[in-house]
Protein backbone atom coordinates (compact mmCIF):
# COMPACT_ATOMS: atom_id res chain seq x y z
CA UNK A 1 0.00 0.00 0.00
CA UNK A 2 2.79 2.39 0.93
CA UNK A 3 4.72 1.40 -2.17
CA UNK A 4 1.67 1.98 -4.31
CA UNK A 5 1.13 5.50 -3.00
CA UNK A 6 4.82 6.27 -3.26
CA UNK A 7 4.92 5.15 -6.89
CA UNK A 8 1.69 7.01 -7.65
CA UNK A 9 3.08 10.22 -6.17
CA UNK A 10 6.31 9.81 -8.10
CA UNK A 11 4.53 9.40 -11.44
CA UNK A 12 2.11 12.21 -10.63
CA UNK A 13 4.95 14.54 -9.73
CA UNK A 14 6.82 13.62 -12.89
CA UNK A 15 3.81 14.28 -15.13
CA UNK A 16 3.13 17.63 -13.49
CA UNK A 17 6.80 18.51 -13.85
CA UNK A 18 6.58 17.71 -17.54
CA UNK A 19 3.53 19.96 -17.81
CA UNK A 20 5.31 22.71 -15.91
CA UNK A 21 8.20 22.74 -18.30
CA UNK A 22 6.31 22.04 -21.53
CA UNK A 23 3.07 23.99 -20.84
CA UNK A 24 1.16 21.90 -23.35
CA UNK A 25 -2.08 21.79 -21.36
CA UNK A 26 -1.81 25.39 -20.20
CA UNK A 27 -0.88 26.86 -23.54
CA UNK A 28 -2.72 24.54 -25.92
CA UNK A 29 -5.53 22.59 -24.26
CA UNK A 30 -6.97 25.51 -22.29
CA UNK A 31 -7.21 27.85 -25.30
CA UNK A 32 -8.68 24.96 -27.27
CA UNK A 33 -11.42 24.48 -24.66
CA UNK A 34 -12.18 28.20 -24.57
CA UNK A 35 -12.38 28.23 -28.34
CA UNK A 36 -14.93 25.43 -28.23
CA UNK A 37 -17.12 27.63 -26.01
CA UNK A 38 -16.90 30.43 -28.55
CA UNK A 39 -17.80 27.98 -31.31
CA UNK A 40 -20.88 26.94 -29.35
CA UNK A 41 -21.86 30.60 -29.44
CA UNK A 42 -21.47 30.58 -33.22
CA UNK A 43 -23.40 27.35 -33.56
CA UNK A 44 -26.24 28.24 -31.20
CA UNK A 45 -27.15 31.81 -31.93
CA UNK A 46 -26.84 33.99 -28.81
CA UNK A 47 -29.91 35.91 -30.00
CA UNK A 48 -32.22 32.95 -29.49
CA UNK A 49 -34.24 33.83 -26.38
CA UNK A 50 -36.35 31.79 -24.05
CA UNK A 51 -39.84 33.20 -23.49
CA UNK A 52 -40.05 33.79 -19.78
CA UNK A 53 -42.66 36.27 -18.53
CA UNK A 54 -41.16 36.46 -15.04
CA UNK A 55 -37.75 37.65 -16.17
CA UNK A 56 -37.12 41.28 -17.05
CA UNK A 57 -34.61 40.24 -19.68
CA UNK A 58 -35.44 37.03 -21.53
CA UNK A 59 -32.52 34.63 -20.95
CA UNK A 60 -30.73 33.41 -24.05
CA UNK A 61 -30.93 29.76 -25.02
CA UNK A 62 -27.15 29.72 -24.84
CA UNK A 63 -27.13 30.66 -21.17
CA UNK A 64 -29.74 28.02 -20.36
CA UNK A 65 -27.79 25.21 -22.01
CA UNK A 66 -24.53 26.24 -20.33
CA UNK A 67 -24.29 23.14 -18.10
CA UNK A 68 -24.16 20.76 -21.03
CA UNK A 69 -21.88 22.94 -23.17
CA UNK A 70 -19.52 23.41 -20.25
CA UNK A 71 -18.93 19.71 -19.82
CA UNK A 72 -18.84 19.08 -23.54
CA UNK A 73 -15.95 21.52 -23.73
CA UNK A 74 -14.25 19.81 -20.77
CA UNK A 75 -14.85 16.42 -22.39
CA UNK A 76 -13.22 17.43 -25.68
CA UNK A 77 -10.34 19.06 -23.84
CA UNK A 78 -9.92 15.92 -21.75
CA UNK A 79 -9.34 13.85 -24.90
CA UNK A 80 -6.35 16.06 -25.64
CA UNK A 81 -5.09 15.94 -22.07
CA UNK A 82 -5.37 12.15 -22.00
CA UNK A 83 -3.68 11.88 -25.36
CA UNK A 84 -0.86 14.06 -24.08
CA UNK A 85 -0.56 11.98 -20.91
CA UNK A 86 0.21 8.86 -22.92
CA UNK A 87 1.95 10.77 -25.67
CA UNK A 88 4.83 11.58 -23.34
CA UNK A 89 5.20 7.86 -22.61
CA UNK A 90 4.99 6.81 -26.23
CA UNK A 91 8.23 8.63 -27.06
CA UNK A 92 11.57 7.01 -26.51
CA UNK A 93 10.32 3.91 -24.68
CA UNK A 94 9.68 5.54 -21.34
CA UNK A 95 6.80 3.15 -20.69
CA UNK A 96 9.38 0.35 -20.86
CA UNK A 97 11.48 2.38 -18.46
CA UNK A 98 8.62 2.53 -15.97
CA UNK A 99 8.13 -1.21 -16.32
CA UNK A 100 11.85 -1.87 -15.88
CA UNK A 101 11.87 0.23 -12.74
CA UNK A 102 9.41 -2.20 -11.24
CA UNK A 103 6.90 0.48 -10.31
CA UNK A 104 3.58 -0.80 -9.06
CA UNK A 105 1.26 -0.84 -12.11
CA UNK A 106 -1.64 0.38 -9.99
CA UNK A 107 0.61 3.20 -8.81
CA UNK A 108 1.39 4.15 -12.39
CA UNK A 109 -2.33 4.21 -13.12
CA UNK A 110 -3.14 6.37 -10.11
CA UNK A 111 -0.25 8.72 -10.81
CA UNK A 112 -1.08 9.27 -14.44
CA UNK A 113 -4.82 9.60 -13.82
CA UNK A 114 -4.10 11.94 -10.90
CA UNK A 115 -2.00 14.22 -13.06
CA UNK A 116 -4.82 14.35 -15.62
CA UNK A 117 -7.27 15.22 -12.83
CA UNK A 118 -5.09 18.13 -11.68
CA UNK A 119 -4.76 19.44 -15.22
CA UNK A 120 -8.46 19.07 -16.02
CA UNK A 121 -9.44 20.87 -12.83
CA UNK A 122 -7.44 23.80 -14.13
CA UNK A 123 -9.04 23.54 -17.56
CA UNK A 124 -12.56 23.36 -16.11
CA UNK A 125 -11.94 26.39 -13.88
CA UNK A 126 -11.04 28.45 -16.93
CA UNK A 127 -13.86 27.01 -19.02
CA UNK A 128 -16.42 27.71 -16.28
CA UNK A 129 -15.32 31.31 -15.97
CA UNK A 130 -15.41 31.58 -19.73
CA UNK A 131 -18.94 30.19 -19.90
CA UNK A 132 -20.20 32.68 -17.32
CA UNK A 133 -18.59 35.46 -19.29
CA UNK A 134 -19.44 34.50 -22.86
CA UNK A 135 -22.92 33.11 -22.25
CA UNK A 136 -23.98 35.86 -19.81
CA UNK A 137 -25.17 33.34 -17.27
CA UNK A 138 -27.10 34.98 -14.44
CA UNK A 139 -27.66 32.93 -11.32
CA UNK A 140 -28.48 33.49 -7.69
CA UNK A 141 -25.22 32.78 -5.91
CA UNK A 142 -25.19 30.69 -2.76
CA UNK A 143 -22.67 28.55 -0.94
CA UNK A 144 -24.79 25.46 -1.50
CA UNK A 145 -24.77 26.05 -5.26
CA UNK A 146 -21.02 26.59 -5.33
CA UNK A 147 -20.35 23.45 -3.30
CA UNK A 148 -22.56 21.38 -5.61
CA UNK A 149 -20.87 22.81 -8.69
CA UNK A 150 -17.34 22.17 -7.47
CA UNK A 151 -18.15 18.66 -6.23
CA UNK A 152 -19.75 17.84 -9.56
CA UNK A 153 -16.67 18.98 -11.44
CA UNK A 154 -14.40 16.98 -9.12
CA UNK A 155 -16.39 13.76 -9.47
CA UNK A 156 -16.87 14.12 -13.22
CA UNK A 157 -13.22 14.90 -13.85
CA UNK A 158 -12.07 11.97 -11.74
CA UNK A 159 -14.33 9.72 -13.77
CA UNK A 160 -13.07 11.14 -17.06
CA UNK A 161 -9.40 10.86 -16.07
CA UNK A 162 -9.73 7.32 -14.71
CA UNK A 163 -11.63 6.02 -17.73
CA UNK A 164 -9.36 7.87 -20.15
CA UNK A 165 -6.18 6.54 -18.56
CA UNK A 166 -7.53 3.01 -18.52
CA UNK A 167 -8.53 3.08 -22.19
CA UNK A 168 -5.28 4.74 -23.23
CA UNK A 169 -3.35 1.86 -21.68
CA UNK A 170 -5.66 -0.55 -23.47
CA UNK A 171 -4.67 0.99 -26.80
CA UNK A 172 -1.02 1.52 -25.85
CA UNK A 173 1.57 0.62 -28.44
CA UNK A 174 -0.92 0.97 -31.27
CA UNK A 175 -0.41 3.23 -34.23
CA UNK A 176 -4.12 4.00 -34.36
CA UNK A 177 -4.19 4.97 -30.68
CA UNK A 178 -5.17 8.58 -31.44
CA UNK A 179 -8.46 7.61 -33.04
CA UNK A 180 -9.08 4.42 -31.10
CA UNK A 181 -9.03 6.03 -27.66
CA UNK A 182 -11.79 8.56 -28.44
CA UNK A 183 -13.90 5.78 -29.97
CA UNK A 184 -13.54 3.77 -26.77
CA UNK A 185 -13.84 6.63 -24.30
CA UNK A 186 -16.68 8.73 -25.67
CA UNK A 187 -19.50 6.17 -25.31
CA UNK A 188 -18.18 5.29 -21.88
CA UNK A 189 -18.28 8.92 -20.83
CA UNK A 190 -21.83 9.48 -22.09
CA UNK A 191 -23.28 8.83 -18.62
CA UNK A 192 -20.69 11.19 -17.12
CA UNK A 193 -21.74 14.00 -19.42
CA UNK A 194 -25.36 13.24 -18.57
CA UNK A 195 -24.80 13.27 -14.82
CA UNK A 196 -22.47 16.25 -14.81
CA UNK A 197 -24.78 18.45 -16.85
CA UNK A 198 -27.82 17.46 -14.81
CA UNK A 199 -26.03 18.22 -11.56
CA UNK A 200 -24.68 21.51 -12.91
CA UNK A 201 -28.15 22.39 -14.17
CA UNK A 202 -29.37 21.96 -10.61
CA UNK A 203 -26.45 23.98 -9.27
CA UNK A 204 -27.04 26.88 -11.64
CA UNK A 205 -30.75 27.10 -12.22
CA UNK A 206 -32.63 24.41 -10.32
CA UNK A 207 -33.03 23.17 -6.79
CA UNK A 208 -29.67 22.20 -5.29
CA UNK A 209 -31.14 19.06 -3.74
CA UNK A 210 -31.90 17.71 -7.23
CA UNK A 211 -28.22 17.74 -8.08
CA UNK A 212 -26.84 15.54 -5.34
CA UNK A 213 -28.20 12.19 -6.58
CA UNK A 214 -26.39 12.86 -9.85
CA UNK A 215 -23.19 13.67 -7.99
CA UNK A 216 -23.55 10.41 -6.08
CA UNK A 217 -23.93 8.59 -9.41
CA UNK A 218 -20.86 10.37 -10.79
CA UNK A 219 -18.86 9.46 -7.70
CA UNK A 220 -19.93 5.82 -8.02
CA UNK A 221 -18.90 5.84 -11.66
CA UNK A 222 -15.54 7.41 -10.80
CA UNK A 223 -14.97 4.84 -8.04
CA UNK A 224 -15.81 2.02 -10.44
CA UNK A 225 -13.29 3.21 -13.00
CA UNK A 226 -10.57 3.93 -10.48
CA UNK A 227 -11.10 0.40 -9.17
CA UNK A 228 -11.10 -1.09 -12.66
CA UNK A 229 -7.87 0.75 -13.46
CA UNK A 230 -6.15 -0.42 -10.29
CA UNK A 231 -7.17 -4.01 -10.93
CA UNK A 232 -6.44 -4.18 -14.64
CA UNK A 233 -3.33 -2.05 -15.05
CA UNK A 234 -1.06 -4.90 -14.09
CA UNK A 235 -2.43 -7.05 -16.89
CA UNK A 236 -2.34 -4.13 -19.33
CA UNK A 237 1.22 -3.09 -18.59
CA UNK A 238 2.59 -6.54 -17.96
CA UNK A 239 2.10 -7.99 -21.41
CA UNK A 240 2.83 -5.70 -24.26
Amino acid sequence: MFELLRDARMVLGKDLLIERSSRVVTAQVVPFAVMILILFGFGISPDLRILDSTATVAPSVLSRVTPGLLFLAVLFASLLAIGRSFGVEANDGTLDGLRMAGLDPAGIFLGKAGAVVVQLLGVSAVVTSGAFLFFSVRIEWSVARAVLGVTTAGAAITAIAAAGTLYSALAAGQRERESLVPLLVIPVLAPVLLGASQATEAALFGAVADGWPWVAALAAFAALYVGAGILSFETLLEDM
Binding site: S21, V88, G97, M100
Partner: protein, 245 residues
Protein backbone atom coordinates in the same frame (compact mmCIF):
# COMPACT_ATOMS: atom_id res chain seq x y z
CA UNK B 1 43.06 -14.92 -31.05
CA UNK B 2 39.93 -17.02 -30.93
CA UNK B 3 37.02 -16.09 -28.83
CA UNK B 4 35.96 -19.41 -27.43
CA UNK B 5 39.39 -20.07 -26.06
CA UNK B 6 39.22 -17.22 -23.63
CA UNK B 7 38.85 -17.92 -19.99
CA UNK B 8 35.77 -16.57 -18.34
CA UNK B 9 36.37 -13.14 -16.92
CA UNK B 10 37.60 -13.12 -13.39
CA UNK B 11 34.62 -12.62 -11.17
CA UNK B 12 34.13 -11.35 -7.68
CA UNK B 13 30.75 -13.00 -7.39
CA UNK B 14 32.13 -16.37 -6.47
CA UNK B 15 28.84 -17.81 -5.32
CA UNK B 16 27.33 -17.17 -8.73
CA UNK B 17 30.34 -18.45 -10.63
CA UNK B 18 28.83 -21.70 -11.81
CA UNK B 19 25.22 -20.67 -11.96
CA UNK B 20 23.58 -20.12 -15.27
CA UNK B 21 22.17 -16.63 -15.20
CA UNK B 22 20.26 -16.89 -18.43
CA UNK B 23 18.65 -20.07 -19.66
CA UNK B 24 16.49 -20.07 -22.77
CA UNK B 25 15.11 -23.26 -24.26
CA UNK B 26 13.18 -23.45 -27.50
CA UNK B 27 11.89 -19.94 -27.03
CA UNK B 28 9.39 -18.55 -29.51
CA UNK B 29 8.57 -14.85 -29.21
CA UNK B 30 5.91 -13.23 -31.34
CA UNK B 31 6.10 -9.62 -32.35
CA UNK B 32 2.69 -8.73 -33.75
CA UNK B 33 2.24 -12.33 -34.88
CA UNK B 34 5.70 -12.63 -36.44
CA UNK B 35 8.06 -15.12 -34.79
CA UNK B 36 10.96 -12.82 -34.00
CA UNK B 37 12.49 -15.69 -32.05
CA UNK B 38 11.85 -19.12 -33.54
CA UNK B 39 12.88 -21.76 -31.04
CA UNK B 40 15.99 -20.18 -29.62
CA UNK B 41 18.34 -21.87 -27.14
CA UNK B 42 20.87 -19.87 -25.18
CA UNK B 43 22.67 -20.28 -21.90
CA UNK B 44 24.75 -17.58 -20.31
CA UNK B 45 26.83 -18.28 -17.24
CA UNK B 46 27.66 -15.91 -14.46
CA UNK B 47 30.45 -13.46 -15.29
CA UNK B 48 30.27 -14.02 -19.01
CA UNK B 49 30.42 -11.17 -21.46
CA UNK B 50 28.48 -12.37 -24.44
CA UNK B 51 28.46 -10.57 -27.75
CA UNK B 52 25.36 -11.01 -29.88
CA UNK B 53 25.93 -10.54 -33.56
CA UNK B 54 23.74 -10.94 -36.57
CA UNK B 55 22.12 -9.10 -39.44
CA UNK B 56 19.39 -6.52 -38.99
CA UNK B 57 16.14 -8.24 -38.05
CA UNK B 58 17.91 -11.37 -36.89
CA UNK B 59 16.29 -11.18 -33.45
CA UNK B 60 19.07 -9.69 -31.31
CA UNK B 61 16.87 -6.97 -29.87
CA UNK B 62 14.14 -9.46 -29.04
CA UNK B 63 16.62 -11.69 -27.23
CA UNK B 64 17.65 -8.76 -25.06
CA UNK B 65 14.07 -7.63 -24.43
CA UNK B 66 13.10 -11.18 -23.56
CA UNK B 67 15.96 -11.42 -21.06
CA UNK B 68 14.83 -8.08 -19.64
CA UNK B 69 11.37 -9.52 -18.94
CA UNK B 70 9.69 -7.07 -21.29
CA UNK B 71 8.14 -9.54 -23.71
CA UNK B 72 6.24 -12.74 -23.20
CA UNK B 73 7.29 -16.04 -24.70
CA UNK B 74 4.76 -18.01 -26.70
CA UNK B 75 6.56 -21.33 -26.60
CA UNK B 76 9.54 -22.79 -24.83
CA UNK B 77 10.84 -21.83 -21.43
CA UNK B 78 13.31 -19.39 -20.03
CA UNK B 79 14.71 -18.07 -16.79
CA UNK B 80 16.89 -15.11 -15.91
CA UNK B 81 18.67 -14.85 -12.55
CA UNK B 82 16.47 -17.72 -11.44
CA UNK B 83 13.22 -15.92 -12.30
CA UNK B 84 10.85 -17.79 -14.58
CA UNK B 85 10.15 -15.77 -17.73
CA UNK B 86 6.98 -17.78 -18.27
CA UNK B 87 5.19 -16.21 -15.33
CA UNK B 88 4.10 -12.65 -14.76
CA UNK B 89 5.72 -12.49 -11.32
CA UNK B 90 8.94 -13.90 -12.74
CA UNK B 91 9.09 -11.31 -15.48
CA UNK B 92 8.44 -8.58 -12.98
CA UNK B 93 11.29 -9.71 -10.71
CA UNK B 94 13.52 -10.03 -13.76
CA UNK B 95 12.80 -6.47 -14.83
CA UNK B 96 13.75 -5.13 -11.43
CA UNK B 97 17.01 -7.05 -11.33
CA UNK B 98 18.48 -6.46 -14.76
CA UNK B 99 19.52 -3.32 -16.60
CA UNK B 100 18.60 -2.71 -20.22
CA UNK B 101 19.89 -0.08 -22.60
CA UNK B 102 17.80 -0.44 -25.73
CA UNK B 103 17.52 1.59 -28.90
CA UNK B 104 15.34 3.98 -26.95
CA UNK B 105 16.95 5.83 -24.11
CA UNK B 106 13.80 6.07 -21.95
CA UNK B 107 14.14 9.79 -21.31
CA UNK B 108 11.45 12.46 -21.15
CA UNK B 109 12.16 15.07 -23.81
CA UNK B 110 10.52 17.86 -21.85
CA UNK B 111 12.59 17.38 -18.71
CA UNK B 112 16.19 18.38 -18.20
CA UNK B 113 18.92 15.80 -17.89
CA UNK B 114 19.00 16.36 -14.16
CA UNK B 115 15.24 16.04 -13.74
CA UNK B 116 15.25 12.88 -15.82
CA UNK B 117 18.09 11.33 -13.91
CA UNK B 118 16.55 12.26 -10.57
CA UNK B 119 13.19 10.76 -11.52
CA UNK B 120 14.65 7.54 -12.88
CA UNK B 121 17.02 7.19 -9.94
CA UNK B 122 14.07 7.41 -7.56
CA UNK B 123 11.97 5.09 -9.69
CA UNK B 124 14.83 2.58 -9.86
CA UNK B 125 15.52 3.00 -6.17
CA UNK B 126 19.11 3.89 -6.91
CA UNK B 127 21.32 5.79 -4.49
CA UNK B 128 21.70 9.49 -5.27
CA UNK B 129 25.53 9.58 -4.86
CA UNK B 130 25.85 6.70 -7.31
CA UNK B 131 23.84 8.64 -9.84
CA UNK B 132 25.85 11.83 -9.42
CA UNK B 133 29.10 9.92 -9.71
CA UNK B 134 27.89 8.18 -12.87
CA UNK B 135 26.74 11.45 -14.43
CA UNK B 136 30.07 12.98 -13.66
CA UNK B 137 31.91 9.99 -15.07
CA UNK B 138 29.91 10.03 -18.29
CA UNK B 139 30.24 13.74 -18.81
CA UNK B 140 26.60 14.70 -18.42
CA UNK B 141 27.05 16.66 -15.22
CA UNK B 142 27.50 20.39 -14.94
CA UNK B 143 26.08 22.60 -17.68
CA UNK B 144 24.63 19.68 -19.69
CA UNK B 145 22.53 18.64 -16.71
CA UNK B 146 20.35 21.74 -16.99
CA UNK B 147 19.55 21.23 -20.67
CA UNK B 148 16.24 19.72 -21.73
CA UNK B 149 16.76 16.25 -23.13
CA UNK B 150 15.09 17.28 -26.39
CA UNK B 151 18.10 19.50 -26.99
CA UNK B 152 20.70 16.79 -26.49
CA UNK B 153 22.64 15.05 -29.20
CA UNK B 154 22.13 11.32 -29.68
CA UNK B 155 25.44 10.65 -27.95
CA UNK B 156 24.56 12.79 -24.95
CA UNK B 157 21.20 11.04 -24.62
CA UNK B 158 22.97 7.71 -24.60
CA UNK B 159 25.46 8.89 -21.99
CA UNK B 160 22.56 10.04 -19.81
CA UNK B 161 20.80 6.71 -20.20
CA UNK B 162 24.06 4.93 -19.35
CA UNK B 163 24.45 7.00 -16.19
CA UNK B 164 20.97 5.90 -15.10
CA UNK B 165 21.79 2.30 -15.98
CA UNK B 166 25.06 2.30 -14.07
CA UNK B 167 23.37 3.63 -10.95
CA UNK B 168 20.93 0.71 -11.06
CA UNK B 169 23.91 -1.60 -10.40
CA UNK B 170 22.33 -4.46 -12.33
CA UNK B 171 23.69 -7.99 -12.04
CA UNK B 172 22.90 -8.57 -15.68
CA UNK B 173 23.54 -5.86 -18.24
CA UNK B 174 21.63 -6.01 -21.49
CA UNK B 175 22.95 -3.60 -24.08
CA UNK B 176 21.51 -3.13 -27.55
CA UNK B 177 23.95 -1.38 -29.88
CA UNK B 178 25.29 0.69 -26.99
CA UNK B 179 27.93 2.36 -29.13
CA UNK B 180 25.44 3.89 -31.53
CA UNK B 181 25.73 7.66 -31.56
CA UNK B 182 28.69 7.78 -29.22
CA UNK B 183 31.84 9.63 -30.21
CA UNK B 184 35.32 8.12 -29.94
CA UNK B 185 35.66 9.30 -26.39
CA UNK B 186 32.24 7.94 -25.47
CA UNK B 187 33.05 4.54 -26.93
CA UNK B 188 36.18 4.26 -24.89
CA UNK B 189 34.28 5.35 -21.82
CA UNK B 190 31.62 2.73 -22.44
CA UNK B 191 34.14 -0.06 -23.01
CA UNK B 192 35.92 0.91 -19.82
CA UNK B 193 32.60 0.93 -17.98
CA UNK B 194 31.80 -2.57 -19.20
CA UNK B 195 35.21 -3.83 -18.19
CA UNK B 196 34.80 -2.34 -14.74
CA UNK B 197 31.35 -3.86 -14.39
CA UNK B 198 32.65 -7.23 -15.53
CA UNK B 199 35.52 -7.01 -13.10
CA UNK B 200 33.00 -6.32 -10.37
CA UNK B 201 31.22 -9.55 -11.24
CA UNK B 202 28.44 -8.39 -13.54
CA UNK B 203 27.28 -10.50 -16.45
CA UNK B 204 26.86 -8.71 -19.76
CA UNK B 205 25.02 -9.42 -22.98
CA UNK B 206 25.71 -6.95 -25.69
CA UNK B 207 24.37 -6.74 -29.24
CA UNK B 208 26.84 -4.79 -31.28
CA UNK B 209 28.02 -4.09 -34.76
CA UNK B 210 30.99 -2.32 -33.34
CA UNK B 211 34.32 -3.92 -33.87
CA UNK B 212 37.03 -2.68 -31.67
CA UNK B 213 38.02 -2.65 -28.08
CA UNK B 214 34.88 -4.42 -27.00
CA UNK B 215 36.12 -7.59 -28.67
CA UNK B 216 38.92 -7.77 -26.17
CA UNK B 217 36.55 -8.17 -23.30
CA UNK B 218 33.98 -10.51 -24.86
CA UNK B 219 34.22 -14.00 -23.48
CA UNK B 220 32.02 -15.44 -26.18
CA UNK B 221 30.24 -14.47 -29.35
CA UNK B 222 26.98 -15.93 -30.52
CA UNK B 223 25.44 -15.36 -33.89
CA UNK B 224 21.72 -14.71 -33.95
CA UNK B 225 20.09 -15.60 -37.22
CA UNK B 226 16.54 -16.28 -38.24
CA UNK B 227 15.38 -16.08 -34.65
CA UNK B 228 17.74 -18.79 -33.51
CA UNK B 229 21.20 -18.82 -32.03
CA UNK B 230 24.26 -20.20 -33.62
CA UNK B 231 27.19 -20.51 -31.29
CA UNK B 232 30.00 -19.27 -33.40
CA UNK B 233 33.11 -21.40 -33.35
CA UNK B 234 36.61 -20.19 -34.09
CA UNK B 235 36.11 -17.05 -36.10
CA UNK B 236 38.10 -13.92 -35.69
CA UNK B 237 35.70 -11.05 -35.40
CA UNK B 238 36.10 -8.21 -37.81
CA UNK B 239 37.45 -10.28 -40.66
CA UNK B 240 36.08 -9.05 -43.96
CA UNK B 241 33.13 -11.16 -45.11
CA UNK B 242 31.89 -11.83 -41.60
CA UNK B 243 28.21 -12.30 -41.03
CA UNK B 244 27.97 -8.94 -39.39
CA UNK B 245 27.00 -6.53 -42.12
Amino acid sequence: MTLDSRDPAPSAAGDLQDKELVQLQGVVCLMGGFPALAGLDLTVGSGEIVGLRGANGAGKTTVLRLCAGLVTLSRGSGSVLGHDLGTRAGRRSTRKAVGLLGHDTSLYDDLTVEQNVRFWARANRAAEPDVLAAMDHLGVAGRVATVKVAGLSAGQRRRTALAILVARRPRLWLLDEPHAGLDHDGRNLLDQLLMDAAAAGATIMVATHDVGRIDDILTRTVIVHGGTVHEHPIRPIGRPGGTDV
